[in-house]
């Protein structure tokens, strides 16, 4: 191995034409705002898809629930199913209301794209994922399902389907909790970034 050969490669490397720098410092702030804007819009798009997914979920759920209710023997079982239905409707309602509010926020951002407007939007996103709204979602959806399976299990302690159902419900609850907090952390990062930018803005 010759040092000269290596030096030639290193020289060829270092003598490459300089790639133009795509941004000047003066543009950095506006670019950062653009990035936040892009992320905010991406989040809004995800929520819209979440709304469609919820509507689709309900469209599948209701015929199945309508069929299941005809197969139930006891009032207790019907009560459990009713609770689960209320939970599903509550979830759909929350998603729908949140999407409507986010759309209104986006309209405000479009009219006046200020960092304050982005911050309001991001904070609304965060509020959706954690705290009162998350617990409202979880408490209206999962306990109802657990009660529904619990009632079945009480009537037939050897019903393995009910045990499995309860397990699935608990896993889903845990997954929703973890995923919501993960999303909230992402939004938190954007909020921190937006606040830093707000402080840097002339």
């Amino acid at each position: 191995m010759s040092e000269r050969e290596i030096d030639e490669v290193r020289a060829a490397w270092q003598e490459q034409p300089v790639m133009p720098i795509p941004v000047a410092r003066a543009q950095n702030l506006s670019i950062a705002v653009e990035q936040i804007d892009a992320r905010a819009r991406q989040a809004a798009g995800l929520l819209t898809r979440a709304r469609y997914a919820t509507i689709l979920g309900l469209a599948i759920y209701f015929p199945i629930a309508a069929w299941v209710v005809t197969t139930l023997d006891t009032g207790a079982e019907r009560f459990g199913l009713a609770l689960a239905t209320i939970g599903a409707l509550s979830l759909a309602f929350q998603v729908n209301v949140h999407v409507s509010r986010v759309r209104a926020d986006m309209a405000r951002v479009d009219a006046q794209p200020t960092l304050d407007a982005y911050l309001a939007l991001l904070e609304r996103h965060r509020a959706f994922f954690i705290g009162r709204q998350l617990w409202l979602r979880m408490l209206t959806l999962f306990p109802a399902l657990l009660i529904a399976f619990g009632i079945q299990l009480r009537e037939d302690p050897h019903d393995s389907a009910s045990v499995a159902g309860m397990g699935v419900v608990l896993i889903l609850a845990l997954a929703m909790y973890i995923q919501s907090h993960r999303q909230a952390r992402r939004v938190d990062e954007d909020i921190r970034e937006a606040r830093v930018l707000a402080a840097e803005m002339p």
Partner: protein, 181 residues
């Protein structure tokens, strides 16, 4: 303008950025190209690197040299870019596996400096981020101590990897017609 090794705390974000641009502007362009082949995505990456650097200077406290700081931030941004954009079937390899890379045995025809550089980029982009960082720093003229400081790996490891890099570069130089002596 040269990069101060331990700038006083009073140096502003703008001054640090200006010094970085003057001293390492070209290297950052080459770094971006080492991580991204596509021109549009490369410009986005370079933009992200500059943005991250400019913001990072707010918290630069001079405990390491500015050069080390700049390379660490830039590599972190670029490595994140690779993770985000890596195609599912693209498998990154280590320096020890570089012999297996396609095109390495192709010695037909003459390869001018530009082609050699292109080929070097192709090889670098196949490496895992840490090895990619080491090869890049070596090509940029950093010594083993500086590479160790930037990457956080031991001097022994750096020496081993530099030895492999030298063999790779020598082979690359020999495979280029205009470089045959």
């Amino acid at each position: 303008m040269t990069l101060p090794s331990t700038p006083p705390r009073t140096q502003s974000q703008d001054e640090l950025y200006d010094a970085t641009l003057a001293e390492l502007g070209g290297a950052l362009g080459r770094l971006a190209r080492s991580y991204e082949d596509d021109l549009d995505k490369r410009q986005d990456l370079l933009q992200d690197i500059h943005l991250a650097l400019w913001r990072s200077f707010l918290s630069f406290d001079g405990r390491c040299s500015l050069r080390t700081w700049v390379y660490r931030v830039a590599h972190n941004v670029a490595a994140s870019h690779v993770v985000r954009h890596r195609r599912l079937r693209t498998r990154l390899v280590g320096l020890e596996a570089i012999d297996m890379l396609p095109g390495d045995s192709d010695t037909e025809g003459s390869v001018d400096r530009q082609l050699m550089v292109e080929r070097l980029y192709t090889l670098i982009r196949r490496l895992r981020p840490l090895d990619r960082q080491i090869v890049f720093l070596y090509l940029e003229g950093s010594d083993a101590a500086a590479i160790g400081e930037i990457t956080g790996i031991t001097a022994v490891n750096v020496a081993t990897k530099i030895n492999r890099i030298k063999k790779l570069l020598a082979r690359l130089a020999r495979s280029g017609g205009s470089y045959d002596e």
